[in-house]
Symmetry: C2
Subunit: 238 residues, 2 copies
């Protein structure tokens, strides 16, 4: 067996786990899109489809973990190859969590369908979701094309998602104050918004891992944390 042959089997291994990441990324993109569409169109079947589909995402993560462990054991990767393998593990863990958040959105959609819609918030949720979907798409593109500039731009855009979340948090508090019958629905909507905001955080992690994979360094700038709701009081004149 020549070195050439060994090298090429190795490359195939690396390509194979990266193909699995892209497959998983596609499934997670679809889950987020469907979860938000189900919320928007009040489609309980579509929401259920997302909940059921999460199992396939979880299984793919498991498979990726097994494959990466196998590659490390078999090929003893070093330098950039090791970074590729370790990044794959981190990225698949982040994608798996994004899938969980989409599933959770769908569960809460099931409950929300039992109450009348809270109109003004739908647009903000949709904008937040659209922004995170685009971020995920670009993070996966940056990963597959090994483009740290695109990855950095994804990291920068997370601040917009956080700001939209802040706006929605205030809107929901106002709704609850105005009419306590909205409280249950608003609590679920709030969690949905928080889930989308968390998807943004996870996509940011994926982009950071891409920068690490290509450059060997995590992005130097500490990410701006723009979810201020944890430290904010809102004055309702109450």
């Amino acid at each position: 067996m020549s070195d050439q042959h060994i090298l090429s089997a190795y490359d195939r291994d690396l390509e194979s786990i990266q193909a699995m990441i892209m497959k998983m990324g596609g499934q997670v993109e679809a889950a987020i899109r469907d979860a938000v569409r189900a919320l928007e169109t009040r489609d309980s079947d579509l929401a259920m489809k997302v909940r059921v589909g999460d199992r396939a995402i979880d299984e793919l993560e498991q498979l990726i973990n097994e494959q990466t462990a196998r590659i490390i054991a078999l090929r003893s990767p070093t330098a950039v190859d090791l970074r590729v393998v370790l990044s794959v593990m981190k990225i698949s863990a982040n994608l798996e969590r994004c899938g969980d958040f989409a599933k959770n959105i769908s569960k809460r959609t099931g409950v929300l369908l039992e109450s009348p819609p809270i109109e003004s918030t739908a647009a903000t949720v949709r904008r937040m979701a659209r922004q995170t979907e685009l971020m995920l798409k670009d993070a996966l593109d940056a990963y597959i094309h090994r483009d740290p500039q695109l990855a950095e731009s994804v990291i920068d855009r997370d601040v917009d998602v956080d700001q939209m979340y802040n706006t929605l948090f205030r809107e929901l508090l106002t709704h609850m104050m105005e009419d306590p019958r909205h409280i249950t629905a608003c609590m679920h909507l709030h969690f949905i918004a928080k889930n989308i905001e968390r998807i943004g955080d996870r996509v940011t992690n994926i982009a950071e891992q891409t920068v690490y994979m290509v450059t060997g360094e995590l992005p130097t700038e500490k990410r701006a944390k723009a979810d201020h709701t944890a430290t904010e009081t809102i004055d309702f004149g109450a």
Copy 2:
């Protein structure tokens, strides 16, 4: 250099990253304990200490990541040694998230101190926190003593945390319905409870990684998911 010597340097490497995990675990235990004590005693200085201290936890995770990558590159571990190294990476990522949750609890405590306390909920939060602290302690013990039975018992106990969270969720909704002036405080308390519940989930992950490290298999039983609030409607007669 004899094989003996090489083996022993390798063992020292593995011991060193495991010692780092225990150090990190101790810091995270302290952060959770202090965050909840600050909430309970309305101690803004202690809350601030937790927020500031999270940086040390983050830095330790970074260091563990670097060390594990170095060990993989240098030592090409296989079989159980590889499982140890990969588990260390996963466990440190979970501990880092627990630290983030403790920090978030402390941020929200800062806000809550501006409102009068909501008495009846404090006891439930304290019980939840106490349960997760014990789970974390046992998960770290199970890890260091390589005790899959203890790890499995930690996994089983997460259902209690989830049930306490469900109870608190209902209590908070009732408070908000009864007096809309409580809404902002209740939203923050709810997030605090959710953060504790998430710490429980992360500790469960740590216990699962311990089972994997020792046995080479993740626990077969899918974890019981007892947070039903995502799919629950509460009847207020509203």
